[in-house]
Symmetry: C2
């Protein structure tokens, strides 16, 4: 028999649960109950790591740790899927919805080539703008839900993300290079690795002729500020996925707002911004359309408009 075991650092990486939490759960609930090596360090058997991964997912769905720890592994499996407040209100039953279901099935079958081809077809059929709004956005949402429900594994979500990124990037690259204002710096904060949202707005902004500087995800705040200065950016646009803990968003935005010069606008969008109030001086983009109208406002109203578009926190 294989007695594969993980150190506490590995378990942190495999599950996304911090060392502090792992030790505290052990202390308070008696689970996990790792063995020890010669030096007294924890060694987690593989099955406990799997159980922790499941528990993590259930917690993200809204279950409470205390209950979950007391339950047997079998009982955990049978727990009903529990949705968060975010209504799963699909405007389904349209033609698009069927297409999207088909795409999901292709990922589930691990048929990378067919999936990519299907995306490409949709792109050509709909054009980049509608492709982003009507195909990529709903697909991304559905994949997120499927992951929360445990119907998608991590590697399936990664594959979907990777392939979709490729199609979007290719489409963006084929657009003419813009040289006009505004110059928009696109990135995400540390601990936010999801990047599809950024690519979607980049596509839409680029279509409108804005000059986008894609910095990739996970930029330290100090580097975002440095980058904004170096590129003489007019706008810094951030994306927060629904997986990003909501309570950490406002402090992060506030801090970045302080680090940026006052004449650089700060826009924040993505699923994670849905139920969060933006701090003063930060514009919240509730949807992709919102992003487009904010961009419209910027180009028409220019500098004066920067201080009071619809969703911006009261300017001081």
């Amino acid at each position: 028999m294989n007695k594969i075991s993980f150190t506490i650092t590995s378990v942190e990486k495999e599950t996304g649960l911090s060392k502090d939490i792992l030790r505290m759960w052990e202390r308070r609930y008696g689970f996990p109950s790792p063995g020890r090596d010669a030096a007294g360090n924890r060694l987690y058997p593989a099955d406990q790591v799997e159980r922790l991964r499941l528990i993590k997912r259930l917690i993200d769905q809204g279950h409470r740790p205390g209950r979950l720890m007391a339950m047997s592994p079998e009982a955990l499996q049978e727990l009903p899927v529990r949705h968060l407040q975010g209504a799963t209100a699909h405007d389904a039953a349209t033609d698009d919805a069927r297409e999207i279901g088909d795409c999901l099935a292709l990922i589930k079958d691990h048929d990378a080539a067919a999936f990519q081809q299907s995306l490409q077809q949709n792109l050509v059929r709909q054009g980049l703008g509608r492709f982003v709004m009507d195909t990529v956005a709903p697909l991304t949402r559905r994949v997120g839900e499927a992951w929360e429900d445990g119907r998608f594994a991590v590697f399936e979500e990664h594959l979907f993300t990777e392939l979709t990124k490729r199609v979007l990037r290719q489409a963006i690259a084929s657009l003419p290079t813009a040289t006009s204002r505004p110059r928009i710096l696109l990135t995400s904060v540390p601990d936010e690795p999801h990047v599809l949202g950024l690519l979607m707005v980049e596509a839409l902004f680029a279509l409108e002729g804005a000059q986008c500087v894609p910095l990739g995800p996970q930029m330290p705040l100090l580097d975002i500020a440095q980058g904004a200065a170096a590129h003489r950016a007019d706008i810094v646009a951030l994306s927060f996925s629904s997986a990003f803990p909501a309570r950490r968003i406002p402090p992060a935005l506030f801090q970045l707002r302080e680090l940026l010069p006052a004449d650089v606008a700060l826009w924040a969008g993505g699923e994670g911004m849905q139920h969060v109030a933006p701090p003063d001086g930060v514009t919240r983009l509730l949807s992709l359309k919102d992003g487009l109208s904010a961009l419209g406002l910027w180009t028409t109203g220019d500098s004066s408009a920067k201080k009071s578009p619809a969703q911006t926190g009261r300017a001081t």
Copy 2:
């Protein structure tokens, strides 16, 4: 005056130094010396965070923490650049070397469009294979060095990576879709976000007609194993950059080797593998060429060859 300050979690994200290390340095060396909020939690002023970022870079260059902590901020700035064992032996003075220097300058000028165009030109001129070997690989190495020397900021490295990724992915997408063996799963372990190396081998492997499944970086080991099974992969290929701590590579490879079925080959390459001995059953790819010959061996020798190519650890 702005008295921006960071919590210990923010500093961890901004600098890449763990909370444990930050507290231990404070205890042992008296630096950093954060203030405290009402609850007694640490609050780091912005200038200390900057100093910590500098110290982190110098440590990665081979300096020792104890010395650095005792030095004044000014003295730190003037510290000479110190290179690791990895010889900076450029086969410079060739035509290519000049081209590469030009590309670097474009990034330094933050001229994204010109950089991307320059890459694209090189791609067309050289063809994908030579483009990867003679342009992307040396460019990536030079950028890594520039970052270590502090000549490149984080946001500059990110921009370079992002733009290069786009060009490579576009090129890969234009290749015909392969359906033949081997099927190769490409990814990296948690804490290894660098992905250019993977894209380079993907391009080369795809040129040879192998079927590549790009899962993106930072896959938990359990998910790599799951993904390999689901995709019925013949080979799992990992990439380790020079930034990845060398001592953590062998245990990671060993553990993944245990998690994978014996008939799935495990290949590991990248700058980080240069000075690391691969565990039994893991093939080390010292260069991109090495990767190609390993692939050649696999396709000719097939299953029997899997157990004993040149660089593989002794099979049991």
